[in-house]
Protein backbone atom coordinates (compact mmCIF):
# COMPACT_ATOMS: atom_id res chain seq x y z
CA UNK A 1 0.00 0.00 0.00
CA UNK A 2 1.39 3.40 -0.91
CA UNK A 3 1.96 5.95 1.83
CA UNK A 4 -0.68 8.46 0.70
CA UNK A 5 -3.35 5.74 0.46
CA UNK A 6 -2.43 4.47 3.89
CA UNK A 7 -2.60 7.97 5.34
CA UNK A 8 -5.95 8.62 3.65
CA UNK A 9 -7.37 5.41 5.15
CA UNK A 10 -6.03 6.30 8.58
CA UNK A 11 -7.71 9.73 8.40
CA UNK A 12 -10.88 8.06 7.16
CA UNK A 13 -11.12 5.97 10.34
CA UNK A 14 -10.96 9.12 12.50
CA UNK A 15 -13.52 10.96 10.33
CA UNK A 16 -16.00 8.07 10.44
CA UNK A 17 -15.69 7.74 14.21
CA UNK A 18 -16.11 11.48 14.84
CA UNK A 19 -19.04 11.84 12.43
CA UNK A 20 -20.80 8.82 14.00
CA UNK A 21 -20.21 10.26 17.45
CA UNK A 22 -21.55 13.69 16.38
CA UNK A 23 -24.62 12.24 14.66
CA UNK A 24 -25.52 9.73 17.37
CA UNK A 25 -25.18 12.31 20.13
CA UNK A 26 -27.32 15.01 18.43
CA UNK A 27 -29.77 13.35 16.01
CA UNK A 28 -32.49 11.17 17.56
CA UNK A 29 -32.76 7.65 16.10
CA UNK A 30 -36.35 6.35 16.39
CA UNK A 31 -37.11 9.17 18.75
CA UNK A 32 -34.20 8.42 21.04
CA UNK A 33 -30.69 9.85 21.27
CA UNK A 34 -28.33 6.87 21.47
CA UNK A 35 -25.40 8.75 23.02
CA UNK A 36 -26.89 11.07 25.65
CA UNK A 37 -24.84 14.32 25.72
CA UNK A 38 -24.60 14.18 29.51
CA UNK A 39 -22.49 11.02 29.33
CA UNK A 40 -20.88 11.34 25.91
CA UNK A 41 -20.82 15.07 25.12
CA UNK A 42 -20.21 15.62 21.40
CA UNK A 43 -17.19 16.28 19.19
CA UNK A 44 -18.04 19.95 18.59
CA UNK A 45 -18.19 20.74 22.30
CA UNK A 46 -14.99 18.82 22.93
CA UNK A 47 -13.27 20.64 20.08
CA UNK A 48 -14.42 24.07 21.25
CA UNK A 49 -13.21 23.22 24.76
CA UNK A 50 -9.75 22.37 23.37
CA UNK A 51 -9.72 25.59 21.32
CA UNK A 52 -10.73 27.58 24.41
CA UNK A 53 -7.85 26.07 26.43
CA UNK A 54 -5.29 26.88 23.79
CA UNK A 55 -6.76 30.32 22.99
CA UNK A 56 -6.73 31.41 26.61
CA UNK A 57 -3.32 29.78 27.16
CA UNK A 58 -4.36 27.94 30.38
CA UNK A 59 -3.36 24.61 28.87
CA UNK A 60 0.32 25.52 28.47
CA UNK A 61 0.87 25.69 32.20
CA UNK A 62 -0.67 22.24 32.69
CA UNK A 63 1.18 20.75 29.74
CA UNK A 64 4.43 22.24 31.00
CA UNK A 65 3.98 20.72 34.45
CA UNK A 66 3.10 17.27 33.13
CA UNK A 67 6.06 17.43 30.77
CA UNK A 68 8.42 18.46 33.55
CA UNK A 69 7.18 15.64 35.79
CA UNK A 70 7.54 13.10 32.98
CA UNK A 71 11.06 14.21 32.10
CA UNK A 72 12.19 14.20 35.72
CA UNK A 73 10.65 10.77 36.31
CA UNK A 74 12.30 9.42 33.17
CA UNK A 75 15.75 10.84 33.93
CA UNK A 76 15.84 9.85 37.59
CA UNK A 77 14.28 6.42 36.96
CA UNK A 78 16.68 5.69 34.10
CA UNK A 79 19.76 6.77 36.04
CA UNK A 80 18.77 4.59 38.98
CA UNK A 81 17.89 1.67 36.70
CA UNK A 82 21.21 1.85 34.87
CA UNK A 83 23.27 2.08 38.05
CA UNK A 84 21.49 -0.70 39.91
CA UNK A 85 21.20 -2.85 36.78
CA UNK A 86 24.95 -2.63 36.25
CA UNK A 87 25.71 -3.28 39.87
CA UNK A 88 23.47 -6.37 40.06
CA UNK A 89 24.73 -7.80 36.79
CA UNK A 90 28.37 -7.47 37.85
CA UNK A 91 27.74 -8.75 41.40
CA UNK A 92 25.67 -11.92 41.11
CA UNK A 93 25.61 -12.37 44.89
CA UNK A 94 24.00 -8.97 45.43
CA UNK A 95 21.50 -9.80 42.68
CA UNK A 96 20.67 -13.14 44.29
CA UNK A 97 20.14 -11.57 47.73
CA UNK A 98 17.86 -8.81 46.46
CA UNK A 99 16.04 -10.91 43.88
CA UNK A 100 12.86 -11.69 45.89
CA UNK A 101 12.51 -8.07 47.03
CA UNK A 102 12.94 -6.71 43.52
CA UNK A 103 10.24 -9.10 42.31
CA UNK A 104 7.99 -8.16 45.22
CA UNK A 105 8.22 -4.42 44.66
CA UNK A 106 7.82 -4.83 40.92
CA UNK A 107 4.70 -6.94 41.40
CA UNK A 108 3.08 -4.17 43.45
CA UNK A 109 0.56 -2.07 41.49
CA UNK A 110 2.26 1.32 41.61
CA UNK A 111 -1.02 3.25 42.00
CA UNK A 112 -1.23 2.19 45.65
CA UNK A 113 2.04 4.03 46.27
CA UNK A 114 0.54 7.35 45.16
CA UNK A 115 -1.09 8.19 48.53
CA UNK A 116 2.18 7.41 50.32
CA UNK A 117 4.17 9.63 47.99
CA UNK A 118 1.54 12.39 48.37
CA UNK A 119 1.93 12.08 52.12
CA UNK A 120 5.73 12.11 52.03
CA UNK A 121 6.34 14.60 49.27
CA UNK A 122 3.23 16.77 49.30
CA UNK A 123 0.89 17.63 46.45
CA UNK A 124 3.55 19.35 44.32
CA UNK A 125 5.36 17.80 41.37
CA UNK A 126 7.70 15.56 43.38
CA UNK A 127 5.07 13.06 44.47
CA UNK A 128 4.20 12.55 40.75
CA UNK A 129 7.86 12.29 39.82
CA UNK A 130 8.30 9.62 42.48
CA UNK A 131 5.41 7.60 41.10
CA UNK A 132 6.84 7.84 37.57
CA UNK A 133 10.29 6.85 38.88
CA UNK A 134 8.97 3.62 40.40
CA UNK A 135 7.54 2.70 36.98
CA UNK A 136 10.51 3.73 34.84
CA UNK A 137 13.15 2.35 37.18
CA UNK A 138 12.09 -1.29 36.86
CA UNK A 139 11.83 -1.27 33.08
CA UNK A 140 15.28 0.26 32.69
CA UNK A 141 16.73 -1.87 35.48
CA UNK A 142 15.57 -5.18 33.98
CA UNK A 143 16.77 -4.22 30.53
CA UNK A 144 20.21 -3.05 31.63
CA UNK A 145 20.58 -6.15 33.79
CA UNK A 146 19.76 -8.37 30.79
CA UNK A 147 21.98 -6.30 28.53
CA UNK A 148 25.03 -6.63 30.74
CA UNK A 149 24.46 -10.32 31.40
CA UNK A 150 23.81 -11.27 27.80
CA UNK A 151 26.88 -9.73 26.26
CA UNK A 152 28.09 -12.21 23.66
CA UNK A 153 30.75 -14.49 25.11
CA UNK A 154 32.81 -14.21 21.93
CA UNK A 155 32.72 -10.41 21.86
CA UNK A 156 33.80 -10.39 25.50
CA UNK A 157 36.66 -12.84 24.86
CA UNK A 158 37.67 -10.78 21.86
CA UNK A 159 37.85 -7.67 24.03
CA UNK A 160 40.00 -9.54 26.55
CA UNK A 161 42.31 -10.92 23.86
CA UNK A 162 42.68 -7.43 22.41
CA UNK A 163 44.04 -6.46 25.80
CA UNK A 164 41.11 -4.62 27.37
CA UNK A 165 41.24 -4.01 31.11
CA UNK A 166 38.09 -4.42 33.22
CA UNK A 167 37.48 -0.68 32.92
CA UNK A 168 37.88 -0.76 29.14
CA UNK A 169 35.57 -3.77 28.89
CA UNK A 170 33.04 -1.70 30.82
CA UNK A 171 33.40 1.23 28.46
CA UNK A 172 33.58 -0.61 25.14
CA UNK A 173 31.55 -3.76 25.70
CA UNK A 174 29.21 -3.81 28.72
CA UNK A 175 28.09 -0.22 28.52
CA UNK A 176 27.12 -0.12 24.80
CA UNK A 177 25.40 -3.48 25.16
CA UNK A 178 23.39 -2.33 28.17
CA UNK A 179 22.51 0.94 26.46
CA UNK A 180 21.20 -0.86 23.40
CA UNK A 181 18.87 -2.89 25.60
CA UNK A 182 17.81 0.21 27.46
CA UNK A 183 17.04 2.05 24.25
CA UNK A 184 15.03 -0.84 22.92
CA UNK A 185 12.66 -0.20 25.83
CA UNK A 186 12.79 3.58 25.47
CA UNK A 187 9.24 3.87 24.15
CA UNK A 188 7.86 1.85 27.03
CA UNK A 189 9.79 3.67 29.72
CA UNK A 190 8.97 7.15 28.37
CA UNK A 191 5.32 6.09 28.13
CA UNK A 192 5.37 4.95 31.75
CA UNK A 193 6.96 8.21 32.87
CA UNK A 194 3.93 10.03 31.44
CA UNK A 195 1.53 7.50 32.98
CA UNK A 196 3.14 8.02 36.39
CA UNK A 197 2.84 11.79 36.09
CA UNK A 198 -0.80 11.82 34.93
CA UNK A 199 -2.03 9.19 37.38
CA UNK A 200 -0.28 11.05 40.18
CA UNK A 201 -1.91 14.31 39.15
CA UNK A 202 -5.29 12.64 38.88
CA UNK A 203 -5.06 11.33 42.43
CA UNK A 204 -4.21 14.66 43.97
CA UNK A 205 -2.59 17.80 42.64
CA UNK A 206 -3.09 21.45 41.76
CA UNK A 207 -1.92 21.45 38.14
CA UNK A 208 -1.20 19.22 35.14
CA UNK A 209 -3.22 17.33 32.55
CA UNK A 210 -4.34 14.73 35.07
CA UNK A 211 -5.58 17.54 37.32
CA UNK A 212 -7.47 19.09 34.40
CA UNK A 213 -9.25 15.81 33.64
CA UNK A 214 -10.01 15.19 37.30
CA UNK A 215 -11.45 18.69 37.74
CA UNK A 216 -13.70 18.32 34.68
CA UNK A 217 -14.91 14.96 35.94
CA UNK A 218 -15.67 16.45 39.36
CA UNK A 219 -18.27 18.81 37.84
CA UNK A 220 -19.61 16.22 35.32
CA UNK A 221 -18.06 18.23 32.48
CA UNK A 222 -17.74 15.29 30.07
CA UNK A 223 -16.58 17.54 27.23
CA UNK A 224 -13.72 18.65 29.47
CA UNK A 225 -12.77 15.05 30.25
CA UNK A 226 -12.69 14.11 26.58
CA UNK A 227 -10.81 17.29 25.69
CA UNK A 228 -8.21 16.44 28.32
CA UNK A 229 -7.88 12.92 26.93
CA UNK A 230 -7.32 14.17 23.40
CA UNK A 231 -4.70 16.70 24.46
CA UNK A 232 -2.98 13.96 26.47
CA UNK A 233 -2.97 11.57 23.47
CA UNK A 234 -1.51 14.23 21.19
CA UNK A 235 1.09 15.01 23.86
CA UNK A 236 2.13 11.35 24.13
CA UNK A 237 2.30 10.92 20.35
CA UNK A 238 4.57 13.97 20.10
CA UNK A 239 6.88 12.66 22.83
CA UNK A 240 6.92 9.23 21.20
CA UNK A 241 7.92 10.80 17.90
CA UNK A 242 10.77 12.59 19.66
CA UNK A 243 11.90 9.27 21.14
CA UNK A 244 11.88 7.68 17.68
CA UNK A 245 14.16 10.44 16.39
CA UNK A 246 16.59 9.99 19.29
CA UNK A 247 16.53 6.22 18.84
CA UNK A 248 17.30 6.46 15.14
CA UNK A 249 20.40 8.50 15.87
CA UNK A 250 21.68 6.36 18.73
CA UNK A 251 21.05 2.90 17.33
CA UNK A 252 22.35 3.29 13.78
CA UNK A 253 24.62 0.30 14.31
CA UNK A 254 21.75 -2.07 14.90
CA UNK A 255 20.39 -4.18 12.09
CA UNK A 256 16.71 -3.60 11.46
CA UNK A 257 14.53 -6.69 11.15
CA UNK A 258 14.26 -6.32 7.37
CA UNK A 259 18.02 -6.13 6.88
CA UNK A 260 18.73 -9.84 7.03
CA UNK A 261 22.24 -11.07 7.57
CA UNK A 262 24.62 -11.60 4.68
Amino acid sequence: MSRPTLFALQVLVAVVCIVLWQVLSTVPVFGKILLPPFFFSNPLDVFSQIVKWFASGVIWKHLGITLAESILAFVIGSLGGVLVGFWFARQPIVAAVFDPYVKMVNALPRVVLAPIFALWLGLGIWSKVALGVTLVFFIVFFNVYQGVKEVSRTVLDNGRMLGMSERQLMQHVYWPSALSWMFSSLHTSVGFAVVGAVVGEYLGSAAGLGYLIQQAEGVFDVAGVFAGMFVLSAFVILIDYGVTLVERRLLVWRPTASDGRG
Binding site: N158, L162, G163, S177, W253, R254, D259, G262
Partner: protein
Protein backbone atom coordinates in the same frame (compact mmCIF):
# COMPACT_ATOMS: atom_id res chain seq x y z
CA UNK B 1 67.32 -25.38 15.86
CA UNK B 2 68.07 -21.83 16.96
CA UNK B 3 64.72 -20.17 16.28
CA UNK B 4 62.96 -19.65 19.59
CA UNK B 5 59.74 -21.49 20.35
CA UNK B 6 56.76 -19.15 20.30
CA UNK B 7 54.17 -21.50 21.77
CA UNK B 8 54.93 -24.70 23.63
CA UNK B 9 52.25 -26.94 25.07
CA UNK B 10 53.86 -29.50 27.35
CA UNK B 11 51.68 -32.48 28.17
CA UNK B 12 48.72 -30.16 28.45
CA UNK B 13 45.54 -31.79 29.66
CA UNK B 14 42.20 -30.03 29.52
CA UNK B 15 39.24 -31.18 31.56
CA UNK B 16 35.84 -29.74 32.32
CA UNK B 17 33.53 -30.45 35.20
CA UNK B 18 30.14 -31.35 33.78
CA UNK B 19 26.84 -30.26 35.27
CA UNK B 20 26.30 -33.66 36.93
CA UNK B 21 29.70 -33.60 38.63
CA UNK B 22 31.54 -35.94 36.28
CA UNK B 23 34.78 -34.77 34.78
CA UNK B 24 35.07 -34.67 31.02
CA UNK B 25 38.60 -34.84 29.66
CA UNK B 26 38.68 -33.00 26.36
CA UNK B 27 42.37 -33.20 25.57
CA UNK B 28 44.97 -35.56 27.00
CA UNK B 29 48.74 -34.95 27.08
CA UNK B 30 48.98 -32.56 24.19
CA UNK B 31 52.57 -31.88 23.24
CA UNK B 32 53.04 -29.22 20.63
CA UNK B 33 55.65 -26.61 19.81
CA UNK B 34 55.29 -23.77 17.34
CA UNK B 35 58.54 -22.08 16.34
CA UNK B 36 58.76 -18.38 15.69
CA UNK B 37 57.60 -17.65 12.15
CA UNK B 38 56.07 -21.08 11.75
CA UNK B 39 52.56 -21.69 10.46
CA UNK B 40 51.04 -24.74 12.16
CA UNK B 41 47.59 -26.07 11.37
CA UNK B 42 45.68 -28.34 13.74
CA UNK B 43 43.20 -30.64 12.03
CA UNK B 44 40.82 -33.05 13.70
CA UNK B 45 37.30 -34.37 13.59
CA UNK B 46 34.44 -32.34 15.03
CA UNK B 47 34.50 -32.23 18.82
CA UNK B 48 38.11 -33.37 19.20
CA UNK B 49 39.05 -30.37 21.33
CA UNK B 50 41.18 -28.49 18.84
CA UNK B 51 39.53 -25.17 19.72
CA UNK B 52 40.00 -26.05 23.38
CA UNK B 53 43.71 -26.43 22.78
CA UNK B 54 43.79 -23.02 21.11
CA UNK B 55 42.01 -21.45 24.08
CA UNK B 56 44.68 -22.93 26.32
CA UNK B 57 47.39 -21.30 24.20
CA UNK B 58 45.44 -18.03 24.43
CA UNK B 59 45.18 -18.25 28.20
CA UNK B 60 41.37 -18.23 28.05
CA UNK B 61 41.45 -21.75 29.53
CA UNK B 62 43.78 -23.14 32.15
CA UNK B 63 45.13 -26.62 31.52
CA UNK B 64 44.26 -29.17 34.22
CA UNK B 65 47.77 -30.56 33.99
CA UNK B 66 50.93 -29.82 32.07
CA UNK B 67 52.14 -26.38 31.17
CA UNK B 68 52.03 -23.69 28.52
CA UNK B 69 55.14 -21.70 27.69
CA UNK B 70 55.12 -18.61 25.51
CA UNK B 71 58.59 -17.62 24.31
CA UNK B 72 59.98 -19.83 27.05
CA UNK B 73 58.03 -18.03 29.77
CA UNK B 74 55.30 -19.94 31.60
CA UNK B 75 51.91 -18.46 30.68
CA UNK B 76 50.00 -16.81 33.52
CA UNK B 77 46.62 -15.30 32.74
CA UNK B 78 45.89 -14.19 29.20
CA UNK B 79 48.48 -14.54 26.48
CA UNK B 80 49.44 -10.93 25.83
CA UNK B 81 51.65 -11.81 22.86
CA UNK B 82 48.82 -13.39 20.93
CA UNK B 83 46.14 -12.12 18.62
CA UNK B 84 43.04 -14.31 18.43
CA UNK B 85 40.76 -14.65 15.42
CA UNK B 86 37.46 -16.20 16.47
CA UNK B 87 35.21 -18.50 14.51
CA UNK B 88 32.04 -16.63 15.47
CA UNK B 89 31.49 -12.94 14.89
CA UNK B 90 33.53 -11.13 17.47
CA UNK B 91 33.45 -7.56 16.17
CA UNK B 92 31.88 -4.91 18.36
CA UNK B 93 28.53 -4.42 16.64
CA UNK B 94 28.20 -0.84 17.94
CA UNK B 95 31.44 0.32 16.36
CA UNK B 96 32.07 1.08 12.69
CA UNK B 97 34.60 -1.00 10.76
CA UNK B 98 37.16 1.76 11.26
CA UNK B 99 36.54 2.04 15.02
CA UNK B 100 36.61 -1.74 15.34
CA UNK B 101 40.13 -1.78 13.91
CA UNK B 102 41.30 1.35 15.71
CA UNK B 103 40.20 0.01 19.11
CA UNK B 104 43.12 -2.43 19.10
CA UNK B 105 45.48 0.54 19.26
CA UNK B 106 43.34 2.76 21.47
CA UNK B 107 43.34 0.10 24.18
CA UNK B 108 47.11 0.39 24.33
CA UNK B 109 46.78 4.13 24.82
CA UNK B 110 47.47 5.28 21.26
CA UNK B 111 45.70 8.63 20.78
CA UNK B 112 42.63 8.39 18.55
CA UNK B 113 44.00 10.91 16.06
CA UNK B 114 46.94 8.61 15.46
CA UNK B 115 45.01 5.33 15.64
CA UNK B 116 42.40 6.24 13.00
CA UNK B 117 44.73 6.76 10.01
CA UNK B 118 46.59 3.55 10.86
CA UNK B 119 43.29 1.69 11.10
CA UNK B 120 42.30 3.10 7.73
CA UNK B 121 45.56 1.79 6.28
CA UNK B 122 44.85 -1.68 7.66
CA UNK B 123 41.32 -1.64 6.30
CA UNK B 124 42.77 -0.79 2.90
CA UNK B 125 45.26 -3.63 3.09
CA UNK B 126 42.45 -6.13 3.75
CA UNK B 127 40.58 -4.64 0.82
CA UNK B 128 37.94 -2.70 2.74
CA UNK B 129 39.28 0.85 2.41
CA UNK B 130 35.91 2.06 1.16
CA UNK B 131 33.91 0.45 3.95
CA UNK B 132 35.34 2.29 6.96
CA UNK B 133 32.03 3.85 7.99
CA UNK B 134 29.97 0.66 7.81
CA UNK B 135 28.72 -1.11 10.90
CA UNK B 136 29.33 -4.89 11.10
CA UNK B 137 25.73 -5.77 10.24
CA UNK B 138 26.10 -3.88 6.96
CA UNK B 139 29.05 -6.06 5.91
CA UNK B 140 29.00 -9.56 4.45
CA UNK B 141 30.42 -12.51 6.40
CA UNK B 142 33.67 -12.38 4.44
CA UNK B 143 34.01 -8.64 4.95
CA UNK B 144 33.47 -9.03 8.68
CA UNK B 145 36.29 -11.59 8.77
CA UNK B 146 38.54 -9.11 6.98
CA UNK B 147 37.76 -6.44 9.56
CA UNK B 148 38.43 -8.96 12.34
CA UNK B 149 41.77 -9.83 10.74
CA UNK B 150 42.73 -6.14 10.57
CA UNK B 151 41.58 -5.68 14.17
CA UNK B 152 43.94 -8.41 15.33
CA UNK B 153 46.89 -7.57 13.08
CA UNK B 154 46.98 -3.83 13.82
CA UNK B 155 48.23 -4.70 17.30
CA UNK B 156 51.15 -6.53 15.70
CA UNK B 157 50.94 -9.62 17.92
CA UNK B 158 53.91 -12.01 17.86
CA UNK B 159 51.59 -15.02 17.75
CA UNK B 160 48.41 -15.46 15.76
CA UNK B 161 45.80 -17.91 17.04
CA UNK B 162 43.02 -18.72 14.62
CA UNK B 163 39.97 -20.83 15.46
CA UNK B 164 38.39 -22.02 12.21
CA UNK B 165 38.32 -18.37 11.23
CA UNK B 166 36.97 -19.02 7.75
CA UNK B 167 34.60 -21.79 8.85
CA UNK B 168 31.33 -19.91 8.33
CA UNK B 169 32.31 -18.61 4.87
CA UNK B 170 31.44 -20.09 1.50
CA UNK B 171 34.09 -22.07 -0.38
CA UNK B 172 35.23 -19.31 -2.74
CA UNK B 173 35.42 -16.64 -0.06
CA UNK B 174 37.48 -19.05 2.05
CA UNK B 175 40.08 -19.40 -0.66
CA UNK B 176 40.26 -15.66 -1.19
CA UNK B 177 40.65 -15.15 2.56
CA UNK B 178 43.33 -17.85 2.67
CA UNK B 179 45.37 -16.05 0.06
CA UNK B 180 44.89 -12.74 1.86
CA UNK B 181 46.08 -14.34 5.09
CA UNK B 182 49.19 -15.79 3.40
CA UNK B 183 49.98 -12.42 1.83
CA UNK B 184 49.74 -10.58 5.14
CA UNK B 185 51.60 -13.33 6.98
CA UNK B 186 54.51 -13.48 4.54
CA UNK B 187 55.20 -9.79 5.20
CA UNK B 188 56.39 -10.45 8.76
CA UNK B 189 56.09 -14.17 9.50
CA UNK B 190 54.39 -14.44 12.84
CA UNK B 191 53.97 -17.75 14.59
CA UNK B 192 50.53 -19.03 13.60
CA UNK B 193 48.40 -21.72 15.19
CA UNK B 194 45.49 -22.34 12.86
CA UNK B 195 42.64 -24.66 13.79
CA UNK B 196 40.49 -26.09 11.03
CA UNK B 197 38.54 -29.21 10.14
CA UNK B 198 39.40 -28.77 6.47
CA UNK B 199 42.52 -30.81 5.62
CA UNK B 200 42.96 -29.18 2.20
CA UNK B 201 42.93 -25.73 3.74
CA UNK B 202 45.45 -26.87 6.34
CA UNK B 203 47.94 -28.27 3.81
CA UNK B 204 47.57 -25.28 1.50
CA UNK B 205 48.29 -22.77 4.25
CA UNK B 206 50.62 -24.35 6.76
CA UNK B 207 54.24 -25.38 7.24
CA UNK B 208 53.15 -28.20 9.50
CA UNK B 209 49.91 -30.09 9.84
CA UNK B 210 49.06 -31.66 13.20
CA UNK B 211 46.29 -34.26 13.44
CA UNK B 212 44.23 -34.88 16.55
CA UNK B 213 42.29 -38.01 17.39
CA UNK B 214 38.55 -38.06 18.01
CA UNK B 215 37.47 -36.91 21.49
CA UNK B 216 36.99 -37.34 24.37
CA UNK B 217 40.56 -37.53 25.69
CA UNK B 218 41.88 -36.73 22.26
CA UNK B 219 45.59 -36.70 21.58
CA UNK B 220 47.88 -35.46 18.90
CA UNK B 221 48.41 -38.48 16.66
CA UNK B 222 50.35 -37.16 13.74
CA UNK B 223 52.62 -34.34 12.64
CA UNK B 224 53.49 -33.73 8.99
CA UNK B 225 55.84 -31.15 7.46
CA UNK B 226 54.48 -29.41 4.38
CA UNK B 227 57.37 -28.61 2.09
CA UNK B 228 55.42 -27.01 -0.71
CA UNK B 229 57.34 -23.92 -1.87
CA UNK B 230 56.28 -20.44 -0.82
CA UNK B 231 54.86 -18.04 -1.82
CA UNK B 232 51.86 -20.24 -2.46
CA UNK B 233 48.65 -19.57 -4.24
CA UNK B 234 45.84 -21.51 -2.66
CA UNK B 235 44.06 -22.01 -5.96
CA UNK B 236 47.11 -23.49 -7.65
CA UNK B 237 48.77 -25.36 -4.83
CA UNK B 238 45.84 -27.77 -4.80
CA UNK B 239 46.84 -29.00 -8.24
CA UNK B 240 50.39 -29.83 -7.13
CA UNK B 241 51.44 -33.52 -7.10
CA UNK B 242 53.12 -33.18 -3.74
CA UNK B 243 49.91 -31.71 -2.33
CA UNK B 244 47.98 -34.76 -3.47
CA UNK B 245 50.49 -37.23 -2.08
CA UNK B 246 50.50 -35.48 1.28
CA UNK B 247 46.74 -35.20 1.33
CA UNK B 248 46.36 -38.93 0.69
CA UNK B 249 48.88 -39.79 3.37
CA UNK B 250 47.32 -37.61 6.07
CA UNK B 251 43.77 -38.47 5.10
CA UNK B 252 44.46 -42.19 5.58
CA UNK B 253 45.09 -41.39 9.26
CA UNK B 254 42.44 -38.72 9.64
CA UNK B 255 39.68 -40.74 8.02
CA UNK B 256 39.55 -43.32 10.82
CA UNK B 257 39.33 -40.56 13.40
CA UNK B 258 36.60 -38.76 11.51
CA UNK B 259 34.59 -41.99 11.37
CA UNK B 260 35.21 -42.58 15.08
CA UNK B 261 34.20 -39.05 15.94
CA UNK B 262 31.08 -39.39 13.83
CA UNK B 263 30.15 -42.71 15.43
CA UNK B 264 30.64 -41.22 18.90
CA UNK B 265 28.53 -38.17 18.21
CA UNK B 266 25.64 -40.25 16.83
CA UNK B 267 26.07 -42.68 19.72
CA UNK B 268 25.97 -39.85 22.24
CA UNK B 269 22.85 -38.50 20.58
CA UNK B 270 21.16 -41.88 20.93
CA UNK B 271 22.17 -42.14 24.58
CA UNK B 272 20.46 -38.81 25.23
Amino acid sequence: MTTPTAVALEDAKVAFRLGDGRVYTAVEKAHLAVAQGEFVAIVGPTGCGKSTLLNVAAGLLKPAAGSVRIFDQPLAGLNRDAGYLFQADALFPWKTALDNVAIGLEIKGTPRAEALPRAQKWLTSVGLGAFAGRYPHMLSGGQRKRVALAQVLIRDPKILLMDEPFGPLDAQTRQVMGNLLLDLWSADRKAVLFVTHDLEEAIALADRVVIMSAGPSSRIIGDWKVTLPRPRDIFEVRLDKEFHALHREIWSVLKDEVMKGYAQSTHAAEAV
